[in-house]
C-alpha cells in the first residue's frame, strides 16, 4: 500500500478517502463478495460485509452482523462492544468502498460509464428508499441489480481517483442512503431534513456537518472524541496490518485509548517499576568491575598463583550435561560473586556448594575453607547462658525450703565440634543473589542437627526468620540452614574411589581407638576410573564427608565423663538422685571413605541413581549420580574430575508423611510419698466404721490393761 502516505492529514476526509482505497484494492483481489452474504439485508449491510472477505465469514463475533437498522437506530443497543455510532459510520464508509469493490467485479458487465446525472441518481435512490422503507427482506440478486448501475456511476465518479472531488459526492451518496434507511425509524443523528429535498444549503451537506459535529463531540469523561479515535484506530490498523484485524478490533481500540494516557503517566510508572531492575543491574555491574588498578601486574600474578577459586564454569558445563544447572549467565555471575568473596576474605579453598530455594528469596551457598590460623571466631554465647541458667535454678531451690526436689536434669548439652573438624569442617557463606553481600553462617551445634532431623520447614530467604516448630528449634533460619547444609553435605558429598586417601600419619592406632579417621587428602596417584564403571557400580564412589551420628556430631562425645566431673561440684543430695545410666553406648557410624553402595535403602529404593549423561555419544559422556535421599543433590565425574552440587528446597526425601514427634509423657517431678500422694477424703460411713473399730480396739486394750493389773496383783499376791 505504498500509495498511502502519512496518515496524519489535515483533512480527515481525505484520510477516510484514502482509507477506503486500500479496501477497494484488497476487496478487488478477494473472492466474490456476494457469496459472503447470508442475511436478509438492507443495502447497508450488504455493503458492509463486502469489504471484509479477508477477515473470514461475516459471522465474526464482533462483526456488525445485526441488522443495520439496529446499528443505526439504537447507538447504545447493539451487543457488540464497539460503539454504535461507529458502526453506523463505518457501514457508510464501507458502503462506498463496497461499491468500489463491486465495480471491478462489474467490469465484465456493461461498462456503461454513462455519466448519469443526478436524476437517475435520485431515481435510484428513490428506489433504494423504497427498499429501505419496505421491511421485506431483499434478496441479494435484486439488490445487486439495483446497485449495479449505482456502482457504475460511482465508478465513474471514482475513476479519476480525484479524491477531493469525489468526497462531497461520496458523502452525498452515503448520507442519502443513510437517510432513506432511517426514514422509518428514530434516528439520533440529527437529520432535520428527513425527506429528500434539494434545497440550499443541500440537506446532505447539513447532514454531513451535523454528523461530523456529533462525532467530534468531546466525551465528558475522557476528553477524547469519536472522530479522532476512529481515525487513530484505522491509522493503526493500516500501519500495522495485523491478520484478522476484525477479530481484535476491540483490543486495538483499547490500545489506542491507552496510548493517550500512557504519555502523561509515563515518567511516574517507569520509575517505580523499573527501579529494582536498575538496582540489581547496578549491583551486578559492580561484580564485573575489576579490582583496583594499582600494581595490576603484580596482583595478577599473585592471583593466578594463589587461586583458591574453583572453576565454576567448568563444573557448570558438566552439570549442564546432566540437565542440572542455573543457566550460563546466572552461573557466571555466581562465579564473579565467588571471586569477590575470595578477594575480601582470607580463603584457602572455596567451592560453589549449591542453591537452596526459599519462599521469598533463594540462597546461594559457598563452601569455604579458611586459611590456617585465620579463622574468624565468633563469640559463642550459647554455652555461657546455659550454665547461667543451671546456676539460677540451684539458687532458687536453696531459697525456698521443703519444695519437692525435681528429678529432671537438663540434659547434658553436647558441645559443638570445633571449627575445622567434623560437621564444622567448612565454613559456609550465603547470599541471596549474586552481587549481594555474603553472610557467614554460624557453626552448627549438635542440638541443632538433632532438632533439624525432626522438623521440616521451608526456608523463607531471610536469615533472621525465627523457626516456629515442635520440637522447638534452637536458633533462627540461619542456624537451620546451616544444619541442613551440614546434613546434605554429610549425606551426599561423594567422590570416585581412590580420589581421596587417608593421610599417612603416625598415630594411626590412636585414631582407631576413637573410631574415626577424619582427615584425608588428595591422592596424587589417582588414575581415574572408567566412566562406565562409575555408572555401573556404586562401590566406585565413596563418601568423603563424615557421617553425622545420631548425637549430632561426627566424633562421638561421651557426655558421662563430663557429668562425673560436674558431680563433684554438685550437692550430695543430687548425686543420690542421679538416674543417668552409668554407661552410654558409643554411637558408631560408617567410617570416612565408605563406598556408597553401603548406603541404606529407602524402602526398597536404591539411595542413588546413576546415569550416563548422553546416550547418543557414549564415548564422551560423563557419569552422573543423583541422590534419591536428598532430592536435588547431584554429583558428576568424567573419570578424573568430579564435583558435587545441590539445588533444591533443602529437605530429605521420605516416602511417608512427615509426622511431628509426639510430646513426651508427663514427667514425674518428685518422689511420691504419703504426704504428697493424693487420697480421697473418707466418707461418713468410713469414718464411723473407723471410729467404731478404733473404739473396739481400745476396749480390749483397756480390758487387757485391767486384766494385766489383776494378774499382777494376783501374781503379787501369789508371790506373797
Amino acid at each position: 500500500m505504498e500509495d498511502l502516505t502519512s496518515p496524519k492529514q489535515d483533512k480527515k476526509n481525505q484520510e477516510l478517502g484514502e482509507a477506503r482505497r486500500p479496501w477497494e484494492e484488497i476487496a478487488a483481489s478477494s473472492q466474490d463478495p456476494k457469496s459472503g452474504l447470508s442475511e436478509p439485508l438492507e443495502p447497508e449491510q450488504w455493503l458492509e460485509t463486502g469489504p471484509q472477505p479477508r477477515s473470514g465469514p461475516p459471522q465474526s463475533p464482533q462483526s456488525r452482523a445485526s441488522p443495520p437498522l439496529d446499528d443505526v437506530t439504537g447507538p447504545g443497543a447493539p451487543s457488540p462492544p464497539s460503539p454504535a455510532p461507529e458502526a453506523s459510520f463505518i457501514p457508510s464508509t464501507l458502503a462506498l468502498a463496497r461499491q468500489q469493490l463491486a465495480a471491478p467485479w462489474q467490469s465484465d458487465r456493461t461498462t456503461d460509464v454513462n455519466p448519469k446525472a443526478e436524476t437517475p441518481h435520485s431515481h435510484r435512490l428513490e428506489q433504494s428508499s423504497d427498499q429501505g422503507k419496505s421491511t421485506a427482506p431483499q434478496t441479494c440478486q435484486s439488490e445487486g441489480d439495483i446497485f449495479q448501475q449505482s456502482q457504475q456511476t460511482e465508478r465513474h465518479l471514482y475513476g479519476p481517483e480525484d479524491v477531493s472531488n469525489n468526497n462531497s459526492k461520496q458523502k452525498e451518496l452515503r448520507f442519502n442512503i443513510f437517510q432513506e434507511e432511517d426514514s422509518n425509524s428514530n434516528y439520533e443523528l440529527d437529520h432535520t431534513e428527513s425527506g429528500v429535498s434539494e434545497g440550499a444549503p443541500s440537506p446532505l451537506e447539513i447532514a454531513i456537518q451535523s454528523a461530523k459535529a456529533y462525532l467530534l463531540k468531546t466525551s465528558s469523561k475522557s476528553g477524547l472524541n469519536l472522530y479522532d479515535h476512529l481515525s487513530d484506530m484505522l491509522t493503526k490498523v493500516l500501519d500495522e496490518r495485523p491478520e484478522n484485524a476484525v477479530d481484535i478490533i476491540e483490543s486495538i481500540s483499547q490500545d489506542v485509548k491507552m496510548a493517550h494516557f500512557r504519555k502523561k503517566l509515563d515518567t511516574l510508572q517507569n520509575e517505580n517499576e523499573m527501579l529494582p531492575i536498575y538496582e540489581t543491574a547496578e549491583k551486578q555491574k559492580a561484580l564485573f568491575l575489576q579490582g583496583n588498578l594499582e600494581g595490576v601486574d603484580q596482583e595478577l600474578e599473585d592471583e593466578i598463583a594463589e587461586n583458591s577459586l574453583p572453576n565454576v564454569m567448568e563444573s557448570a558445563f558438566y552439570f549442564e550435561q546432566a540437565g542440572v544447572g542455573l543457566g550460563t549467565d546466572e552461573t557466571y555471575r555466581i562465579f564473579l560473586a565467588l571471586k569477590q568473596l575470595t578477594d575480601t576474605h582470607p580463603i584457602q579453598r572455596c567451592r560453589f556448594w549449591g542453591k537452596i530455594l526459599g519462599l521469598e528469596m533463594n540462597y546461594i551457598v559457598a563452601e569455604v575453607e579458611f586459611r590456617e590460623g585465620e579463622d574468624e571466631e565468633d563469640v559463642e554465647d550459647e554455652d555461657v547462658t546455659e550454665e547461667r541458667d543451671d546456676g539460677d535454678s540451684d539458687a532458687e531451690e536453696n531459697d525456698e525450703d521443703e519444695l519437692p526436689r525435681t528429678f529432671y536434669k537438663t540434659p547434658q548439652v553436647i558441645p559443638k565440634e570445633e571449627n575445622r573438624t567434623g560437621a564444622n569442617k567448612y565454613v559456609y557463606f550465603v547470599c541471596n543473589e549474586p552481587g549481594g553481600t555474603w553472610v557467614k553462617l554460624p557453626p552448627v551445634t549438635p542440638a541443632q542437627i538433632v532438632t533439624a532431623r525432626k522438623i521440616k520447614k521451608f526456608f523463607t530467604g531471610r536469615l533472621e526468620t525465627p523457626i516456629v516448630s515442635y520440637p522447638p528449634f534452637p536458633g533462627n533460619e540461619s542456624n537451620y540452614l546451616r544444619a541442613q547444609i551440614a546434613r546434605i553435605s554429610a549425606g551426599t558429598h561423594v567422590s570416585p574411589l581412590g580420589f581421596y586417601q587417608f593421610g599417612e600419619e603416625e598415630g594411626e592406632e590412636e585414631e582407631e581407638v576413637e573410631g574415626r579417621r577424619d582427615s584425608f587428602e588428595e591422592n596424587p596417584d589417582f588414575e581415574g576410573i572408567q566412566v562406565i564403571d562409575l555408572v555401573e557400580s556404586l562401590s566406585n564412589w565413596v563418601h568423603h564427608v563424615q557421617h553425622i551420628l545420631p548425637q549430632g556430631r561426627c566424633n562421638w562425645f561421651n557426655p558421662i565423663q563430663k557429668s562425673e566431673e560436674e558431680e563433684e561440684e554438685e550437692d550430695e543430695e543430687k548425686e543420690e538422685e542421679k538416674e543417668e545410666p552409668e554407661y552410654m553406648e558409643q554411637e558408631v557410624g560408617p567410617p570416612l571413605l565408605t563406598p556408597i553402595s553401603e548406603d541404606l535403602e529407602i524402602q526398597n529404593m536404591p539411595p542413588w541413581t546413576t546415569r550416563l549423561s548422553s546416550t547418543l555419544i557414549p564415548q564422551y559422556a560423563i557419569a552422573i549420580l543423583r541422590s534419591n535421599l536428598w532430592p536435588g543433590a547431584y554429583a558428576f565425574s568424567n573419570g578424573k574430575k568430579f564435583e558435587n552440587f545441590y539445588i533444591g528446597w533443602g529437605h530429605k526425601y521420605s516416602p511417608d508423611n512427615y509426622t511431628p514427634p509426639a510430646l513426651p509423657p508427663v514427667y514425674q517431678e518428685y518422689p511420691s510419698g504419703a504426704e504428697i500422694t493424693e487420697m480421697d477424703d473418707p466418707s461418713v460411713e468410713e469414718e464411723q466404721a473407723f471410729r467404731a473399730a478404733r473404739e473396739a480396739a481400745a476396749l480390749p486394750v483397756e480390758e487387757m490393761g485391767e486384766t494385766e493389773e489383776d494378774e499382777d496383783e494376783d501374781d503379787d499376791s501369789d508371790q506373797e
Partner: protein, 293 residues
C-alpha cells in the same frame, strides 16, 4: 512451555536448577516439531520431566484450537532395553525420538493410583503390587481377603500428570480469551502482565476448567471481564501460601514455584509475551506442606 520457544523458555526457567541437557534439548526440538505435524496439533507444549529411578519420562502435551479442551498427553521414556539391564545403558533403545500417546485420565484411575507411594520406576510397563483388603462374601459368610492388585506404572503416570495439571498448571491473565461461541483462543494482543500485576497471585489462573468460578458472589463476578476471567485464579488456593512467587533478575522475571508439587516452575517476563511452566520432579505430591509453612 511452548515447543516453539523451547530454548528461551528453558533459559528463563533455569532458576530452579533443573533443566535439560543439550542433547535432550536438541532431540526435543526436532521431535516436537514432528509430533506437531503428525498429530496435527495447534500447539505443542513441553510439559516436563518426571524423574524415575531407572529412567526419566519426558512429557509433552498437544493442544487443539480450543485451548481448554482436554489435552492429549504424550510421553517418551527410555524405550525397551534389548540386552543389558544396566541403568543408563541405552544400547539397543530405539525409541529415543518416539512419543507414545497416553490415555486420558479417568476418575477411577486417580482413585486407584492414590494408594501408590514412592518414586516412579521409569519403566512404563512396571507393575506395582498393592494389597487390598476386599470383602468377599461367599454365601452367608463375609470375610476379608487380601487381594493383590496390580497397577501399571503407565496408569500412575497418567493420573499424576492429570493431577498436576489440575492443581498447578498456570497461565497468566489475559493470555487466553474466551469467545462468545465457546472456544478459547490465544490472545494475540496479550502483551504481558504489567509489573504491578505480575506480583499478585490473582493475575494468574489455573489452566483448567473453572471450578470455583460459579461459587463467586454476584458482586465479585461483576468486576470480572467474562472474556478474560473465565478460569480460577491462584489466589484462593488451599493451603494458602502454597505458591512461592519471586522476582528474579531484578524485576525482569517472575517465577512462581508450587510448594504442593515441588518441581513445578512457572515463569513470565513481564511486559513481554514470554510465559510458560515446566515440571521437573519426582511426581510426588508434597503432603507435608502444612507442616512446612
Amino acid at each position: 512451555m511452548d515447543a516453539e520457544s523451547l530454548l528461551l523458555s528453558l533459559e528463563l526457567a533455569s532458576g530452579s536448577g533443573q533443566g535439560l541437557s543439550p542433547d535432550r534439548r536438541a532431540s526435543l526440538l526436532t521431535s516436537l516439531t514432528l509430533v506437531k505435524r503428525d498429530y496435527r496439533y495447534d500447539r505443542v507444549l513441553f510439559w516436563g520431566r518426571i524423574l524415575g529411578l531407572v529412567a526419566d519420562y519426558y512429557i509433552a502435551q498437544g493442544l487443539s484450537e480450543d485451548q481448554l479442551a482436554p489435552r492429549k498427553t504424550l510421553y517418551r521414556g527410555r524405550g525397551r532395553k534389548l540386552g543389558n539391564q544396566d541403568p543408563g545403558d541405552v544400547v539397543g533403545s530405539l525409541n529415543c525420538m518416539e512419543w507414545s500417546l497416553l490415555p486420558p485420565a479417568t476418575e477411577e484411575m486417580v482413585v486407584q493410583t492414590s494408594v501408590l507411594k514412592g518414586r516412579f520406576m521409569g519403566d512404563p510397563s512396571h507393575e506395582y503390587e498393592h494389597t487390598e483388603l476386599q470383602k468377599m462374601s461367599e454365601g452367608e459368610k463375609v470375610f476379608e481377603e487380601e487381594v493383590v492388585v496390580q497397577i501399571k506404572e503407565e496408569t500412575r503416570l497418567v493420573s499424576v500428570i492429570d493431577q498436576i495439571d489440575k492443581a498447578v498448571a498456570v497461565i497468566p491473565r489475559g493470555a487466553l480469551f474466551k469467545t462468545p461461541f465457546g472456544p478459547i483462543h490465544v490472545n494475540r494482543t496479550f502483551e504481558g502482565l504489567s509489573l504491578s500485576e505480575a506480583k499478585k497471585l490473582s493475575s494468574y489462573f489455573h489452566f483448567k476448567e473453572p471450578v470455583e468460578l460459579k461459587n463467586k458472589t454476584l458482586l465479585e463476578k461483576a468486576d470480572l471481564d467474562p472474556s478474560l476471567d473465565f478460569m480460577d485464579p491462584l489466589e484462593h488456593d488451599i493451603p494458602k501460601g502454597s505458591w512461592s512467587i519471586q522476582m528474579e533478575r531484578g524485576n525482569a522475571l517472575v517465577v512462581l514455584r508450587s510448594l504442593l508439587w515441588p518441581g513445578l516452575t512457572f515463569f513470565h517476563a513481564p511486559r513481554t509475551k514470554n510465559y510458560g511452566y515446566i515440571y521437573v520432579g519426582t511426581g510426588e505430591k508434597n503432603i507435608d506442606l502444612p507442616f512446612m509453612l
